[in-house]
């Protein structure tokens, strides 16, 4: 690990002015610093900022501070009763120890688990722009089938971000240029020719909180995660579904996917195929096919296409209570 300067921020303004990389839970950053993948010259400890509250918004939604720990958010009574998909996604991620450390803001900024990104012996466009991609012609079983480019096919690893994408969350930031809000669906960037640039945050910009809107009465939600182990493993495919059904008709539905995309993946094609139609297995399968229509499987991950479809169908069945 490289040496770095360390300071503690006492206020958001102070943190932004400090001019270093922010550290909160550290579960991604310290790991990658040990691998020499991350080499910050200065770390700004933001744990002292009062950004650790979950509060109701005037609009009936929730405001989640950037420093709310994953375990606290997962077990928050309002999250458990009204946003089951978020609680389920959080509890499917990492281990209890890591969930006690990891924060809401940090979880959104998790780096990929691509083996080549994490190993400096290999070239990687995300780690070192222009050096090449070791995954596209390498062993790519865990890589993306949606949203990849000829520069990068690394998946985004977060479960929480997939649930928040389906919930249409909004990210609030403060930075050298002031405050702004960003719809989570506009927060993440596709790799394109700049896979090192994963989101729209600018240097020194700090996530202060995230809001999730109120859901209409009768809305149900569910998160399913498929992986190589029963616990403590990243998704090969996951699906977050939020649905409101009236009689048999699907009035509103949101579908987001994890483990298959280069970013948390909103499946609007699936939503269009479902809204206004009957909740039944045939329509669920049509929606799943629509969601994966643009999939571009690699040598070792073609199985993810079918796996993702089945995850969508299963999550729709549970959320619409048709099983």
């Amino acid at each position: 690990m490289e040496v770095f300067r360390y300071s503690q921020a006492q206020s958001v303004d102070n943190a932004i002015k400090a001019g270093g990389k922010f550290i909160a839970g550290g579960t991604t950053l310290v790991d990658l610093m040990k691998l020499n993948v991350e080499k910050p010259q200065a770390l700004v400890d933001i744990n002292g900022l009062k950004l650790d509250k979950v509060e109701a918004t005037p609009e009936g939604g929730l405001k989640i501070g950037a420093l709310v720990r994953n375990s606290d958010l997962a077990h928050h009574p309002e999250v458990q009763s009204r946003y089951a998909v978020l609680s389920q996604a959080l509890l499917s991620g990492a281990s209890p120890q890591l969930r006690n450390m990891a924060t809401t803001g940090g979880n959104l900024l998790q780096r990929t688990r691509c083996y080549y990104f994490r190993d400096t012996a290999y070239v990687c466009n995300k780690r070192q722009p222009g050096s090449g991609c070791s995954a596209i012609d390498g062993y790519n079983r865990i890589h993306a089938v949606l949203g990849g480019s000829d520069q990068c096919v690394a998946t985004h690893p977060s479960d929480m971000a997939v649930a928040m994408t389906a919930l249409e969350a909004t990210v609030y930031t403060q930075g050298p240029k002031g405050s702004r809000s960003i719809a989570l669906n506009d927060f993440y960037l596709l790799p394109g020719n700049t896979p090192d640039k994963e989101n729209v945050l600018e240097p020194g910009e700090l996530i202060t909180h995230v809001t999730i809107p109120a859901l209409a009465a009768g809305t149900k939600s569910y998160y399913i995660k498929l992986r190589d182990r029963a616990q403590y493993e990243f998704a090969l495919s996951s699906a977050a579904v939020i649905a409101r059904v009236n009689g048999k008709k699907i009035e509103q539905v949101r579908v987001a996917l994890g483990g298959v995309g280069t970013r948390p993946w909103r499946a609007k094609e699936a939503e269009s195929a479902l809204e206004g139609h009957e909740a039944n297995p045939v329509n669920f399968r049509k929606a799943a096919d629509a969601a994966l229509a643009g999939a571009k499987p690699l040598k070792d991950n073609a199985f993810k296409v079918e796996l993702a479809k089945r995850a969508i169908v299963r999550a729709l069945e549970v959320a619409t209570q048709t099983v």
Partner: protein, 222 residues
């Protein structure tokens, strides 16, 4: 960016070093001295290295060898304050083992994947390998050495003994720290819930069934 002096460093700190948990002769110090004696006959430099690794005479914090970039850090571990000189990049795990002579907490993967380094920070279990020690100066840290009280093992420690919840024992401190923490966590009553809650602790020997039995015995007693 200028480094501000942290007012917490000015707190009254006991300079007294903690007694080894099991008296003056711990297994580690015995082995270290044995190693020193053996090495002295063949290679003097090794003898010096082994001797400085004993816990009987650790360097007083203020006299510690100057490390470039090291700053004074105060950590509260098992109720006792420790003042040490640490570089910011020293993890909580390495601070405990390499700077405070507390070897109960184990280093396994050093990347948050195995759970051997599990300790409690303010009563909650965390991976001490993924956190810098300097970030924990306001926290209460509990390690495996802090569980037994008045010569009595913690009920989870006792249950691990009774159920043979280990083989080689390397993961055991982390397993026990996780098990103690989960007693206060909102998890289901069945064995599968315990398995899920213990999933952050890997056991190479595969003592999982006995670990689940030990945890469940304590939960049923409570």
């Amino acid at each position: 960016m200028t480094k501000q002096r942290d007012p917490r460093h000015d707190e009254q700190v006991s300079e007294q070093q903690p007694e080894p948990a099991f008296g003056r002769f711990s297994r580690r110090s015995f082995l270290s001295q044995l190693g020193a004696a053996t090495a002295a006959a063949t290679a003097a430099p090794f003898a010096h290295a082994a001797a400085t690794a004993t816990i009987e005479a650790p360097p007083a914090p203020d006299e510690a060898m100057a490390i470039p970039g090291a700053v004074p850090v105060t950590l509260t571990v098992n109720g006792q304050k420790h003042k040490v000189m640490l570089e910011p990049r020293v993890t909580l795990l390495d601070a405990l083992r390499d700077h405070m002579q507390m070897f109960g907490t184990k280093k396994g993967c050093d990347h948050g994947q195995c759970g051997a380094c599990t300790v409690h920070v303010n009563g909650r279990r965390v991976n001490s390998c993924l956190s810098f020690a300097i970030m924990h100066q306001q926290d209460e840290i509990t390690t495996i050495e802090g569980l037994a009280k008045d010569g009595q093992l913690h009920p989870v420690q006792q249950a691990f003994l009774e159920h043979d919840g280990f083989q080689c024992g390397y993961c055991t401190p982390g397993q026990i720290m996780s098990a103690v923490a989960l007693l206060k966590e909102p998890i289901g009553a069945d064995d599968d819930s315990v398995r899920a809650a213990m999933s952050g602790n890997i056991c190479r020997c595969g003592a999982y069934n006995n670990i689940v039995d030990a945890v469940q015995q304590v939960r049923h007693q409570a």
